[in-house]
Each structure stands twice: as structure tokens, then as C-alpha cells.
């Protein structure tokens, strides 16, 4: 028992000696300084301490990831929500883009570019057709409208590489819708339409049919082409030889063309 107590007291002495040594060291280092000893220890142990410190920091960062797992999850959820919002915005943008594309197409259709090709007329002896020196090489296609200014000449019926045939209104196969306007008031079109009708070529000339019986069409009124095949208003000529059969439901007339087709030198072909 006594031996054990002595052993315990011996162990306790380490505390007193440590305290004493600590005070001595503090005094010695504080008063005189132990620079040499410090440098020697620093030279050996600072690199070791630095390396282990770096390893400890890295391990701490690794564990810090687990500590911040909740924050990461929250951040992930926030990012997910932000991603959904962006996706919704993107789809909205896509809808707008498609709408924009559709509108662009629509505008392009509404403003079709029209090109006029100048053609010189050639003689062939046929009174119902006209030959011109421009063909598919110039972009002319079958069905294109031929005019001189705002006056209708005909429709392209046949196209070669360097020449085309224009079907004149006097041709038997030419059937076009027209409107009859009061002479002298060409500017106010909608207000002065007297009647609509159809023109067709015949041996007697360009015949106008289907003029309304109750219309106030008289000789000298102006006839305008208003046909989807032509695409636009073109002047054709004047009403002449208006006749009305009491038994019929419409009036007929003939057209006196504005242009003399035999003397045409140059025409314009409207191509799209």
C-alpha cells in the first residue's frame, strides 16, 4: 500500500516539474531568447507540420461536404426550380420564335416581289396571239400577265427558252372576269362599279357577257380586268355595242380595246 502511494506521488511529481520547467522556459525565452534552438527546431519540424496541416485541411474540407449536405440539397432544389423556370421561358421563346417565323412567311406571301420583263413584239400574222422575244430564260412562265402600263394585253400561253406566246383577249380560249366602271371616275373604283361580267374572245371581237340587266352600263364605260388569273386591276377598253334582249337576264356588249394590238412594239411581262 505504501509502495503504491509512493508510486502515485512519483507520478504526480511530473506536474510540478512541468510547471517549474514551463516557468523557467518562459522566463529564459522572454528575457534572453533562444533563437538558435527555435531555428533548429523550425528547420526540422515546420515542413512536417506544414504537410500534416495541409492533409488535415483537405480532410476537413472532405468532411465539410457532409456537413453542408443540407445546403447542397437546398441549392440543388433551387437550381432545379431555376432550371424549370428557364425551360418555361425557353419554350415561351420557342413559341414566339415560331410565331415570328409564321408571320415572316405571311408577310413574304403578302408582299410578293413582282418583276417586269420587257419584251419586244414579233409579227406572225395571227390576230389572237402575240409573239414576244423573251422566254423562260428571262423567268417568264405560263400564266404570267402581259401589260403596257396599266393596260391589259394578254396572258402568256406558251413559253420557250427565248420566246413566248401571249394569248390576247380576243382569242376564243380567253375567258376573264371584268368589272365595268363609269367613265371618267377611274380613281374612285369601288364607288363606280356598275356591273361585273365575263369577257371572251370571239370572231366578232371581244365579247362581254353577264352584264347585269339592272345595271346602268352604257356605251363608253370602262372595262377593267378583275380576274384571279391576272392578279390585279388592268384596264382593257370601253363598252361598245351594248345590247339587251328582253328575254334574257343579262346584257351583252363588245370591248373596244384601249390598245391596238397590231401596233404594239414593246410589252411588259409580270413575273413572280
Amino acid at each position: 500500500m505504501k509502495k503504491n502511494t509512493t508510486k502515485g506521488e512519483n507520478n504526480n511529481i511530473v506536474v510540478y516539474i512541468s510547471l517549474l520547467l514551463a516557468i523557467i522556459l518562459l522566463l529564459v525565452d522572454g528575457l534572453s531568447g533562444l533563437k538558435g534552438l527555435r531555428n533548429a527546431i523550425s528547420f526540422v519540424f515546420e515542413p512536417v507540420s506544414f504537410q500534416t496541416n495541409v492533409a488535415g485541411s483537405k480532410t476537413r474540407e472532405y468532411f465539410q461536404t457532409f456537413v453542408n449536405l443540407g445546403n447542397f440539397r437546398k441549392e440543388f432544389n433551387d437550381l432545379k426550380i431555376a432550371s424549370y423556370e428557364k425551360e418555361a421561358q425557353y419554350s415561351n421563346y420557342l413559341i414566339l420564335k415560331n410565331e415570328n417565323e409564321a408571320l415572316k412567311k405571311q408577310i413574304a406571301l403578302g408582299n410578293r416581289e413582282v418583276k417586269y420583263v420587257l419584251g419586244n413584239t414579233l409579227r406572225d400574222g395571227n390576230v389572237d396571239t402575240l409573239l414576244i422575244d423573251q422566254g423562260s430564260e428571262s423567268g417568264i412562265q405560263q400564266g404570267d400577265t402581259v401589260s403596257v402600263g396599266n393596260v391589259f394585253v394578254g396572258i402568256i400561253s406558251n413559253v420557250d427558252l427565248k420566246g413566248s406566246v401571249v394569248r390576247l383577249p380576243s382569242d376564243g380560249n380567253s375567258h376573264l372576269e371584268i368589272v365595268v366602271l363609269k367613265a371618267g371616275n377611274e380613281t374612285a373604283v369601288s364607288a363606280n362599279i356598275l356591273s361585273s361580267g365575263v369577257i371572251s374572245g370571239s370572231a366578232e371581237g371581244i365579247k362581254v357577257e353577264n352584264i347585269s340587266m339592272n345595271s346602268e352600263v352604257t356605251d363608253g364605260d370602262v372595262i377593267y380586268i378583275n380576274d384571279s388569273k391576272v392578279g390585279g386591276f388592268f384596264a382593257l377598253g370601253y363598252v361598245v355595242g351594248l345590247s339587251s334582249n328582253p328575254a334574257s337576264t343579262y346584257k351583252t356588249a363588245f370591248v373596244s380595246p384601249i390598245l391596238d394590238y397590231d401596233n404594239l412594239m414593246q410589252v411588259f411581262v409580270r413575273t413572280e
Binding site: S18, L21, A22, L25, L26, D29, V48, A55, T59
Partner: protein
């Protein structure tokens, strides 16, 4: 052989001290001191404490003797309390150790600065909370160390009996 043990222990202590300070500001040197107290020869413990504390003072840029003082004061406190509460491997014994470790961390917060600059460091509630947490974790280490130590001792005793 003892000299080799001593240098090895010093090296391991410094290595783990630096690592654990970077990891969670744990002080392994004091834990080793409090765990080895009354378990190993006092000369061995004194030499180990002296060498390791001087090295750590240099590493932490403290005045030489600071670490030794920080270790000695809580151990002195433990000796004082041991006059009333026996330092056995039970709850009262570990409570005393817990208190000593807490005091060590408390001293660590202001003593080095006080010695170096003469200024008292301010201690916040958060810091005290951190000290308690570190003391609790350190206690877990102490318990584990004591368990391992007792098993090793038993094995040694068993070997001695067989050899006898």
C-alpha cells in the same frame, strides 16, 4: 529502446497534433498527456512533454514553455480535485478529466496571447460552446484510450503469467 520510443511518441504526437488542429482544432498533445498521466513512467512522460511542448511552441510561434504551462495547469487542477474525487475509470473520474480538458481549451483561448502580447482575448459564448464540444469529443478519445490501454496491460500480464 526507451529513447526510440520517446522520439517516436514525440513525432506521432506532433504529426497528429498538426493534423487534428487543421481538421477540427483538436489538441492531441494534451489528450496524450492526460491519457498517459499515471500510466507510464513519470520520467518518460516529463521528457516527452518537455520535448513535444518546445517543438509545438516553435511550430505555433508561442513563447517557449507556453504549451508546457497549458498542460501543467489543468493537470495540477486534476491533482487538486483528485484529493476529493478519485480518478478511477468511472463517471466521476471522467467528469474530472472532462473539466480539465475544458479548462485546457479555455486557457488555450487566452494564455498564449496574453504571454505574447499582454492582451486578454475576448471569449464569446460560441467559443465556450465549441470548447465544451471539443471536450466531449476528447473524452470519447480518453475512454477509448483507457480501454485499449487496459486490454494491452491485461495481455502483457497474461504473457508474464504464461512465461512464469
Amino acid at each position: 529502446m526507451e529513447v526510440l520510443y520517446l522520439f517516436l511518441t514525440c513525432f506521432v504526437a506532433i504529426f497528429l497534433e498538426s493534423f487534428l488542429v487543421a481538421l477540427g482544432n483538436f489538441r492531441f498533445f494534451f489528450l496524450l498527456n492526460i491519457s498517459l498521466f499515471r500510466k507510464v513512467n513519470w520520467k518518460f512522460l516529463l521528457t516527452f512533454s518537455l520535448i513535444s511542448s518546445i517543438i509545438l511552441d516553435v511550430i505555433y510561434h508561442y513563447v517557449l514553455g507556453t504549451n508546457l504551462l497549458l498542460v501543467a495547469i489543468p493537470l495540477l487542477l486534476m491533482l487538486g480535485i483528485s484529493l476529493v474525487v478519485p480518478l478511477d475509470y468511472n463517471l466521476p473520474g471522467y467528469s474530472v478529466k472532462f473539466l480539465c480538458i475544458f479548462v485546457y481549451y479555455l486557457l488555450l483561448a487566452f494564455v498564449p496571447g496574453l504571454i505574447l502580447t499582454g492582451n486578454w482575448a475576448s471569449i464569446t459564448g460560441l467559443m465556450v460552446g465549441g470548447m465544451v464540444l471539443k471536450a466531449v469529443i476528447s473524452m470519447v478519445f480518453c475512454v477509448a484510450f483507457d480501454l485499449i490501454w487496459s486490454r494491452l496491460r491485461k495481455r502483457e500480464e497474461g504473457t508474464k503469467l504464461r512465461s512464469l
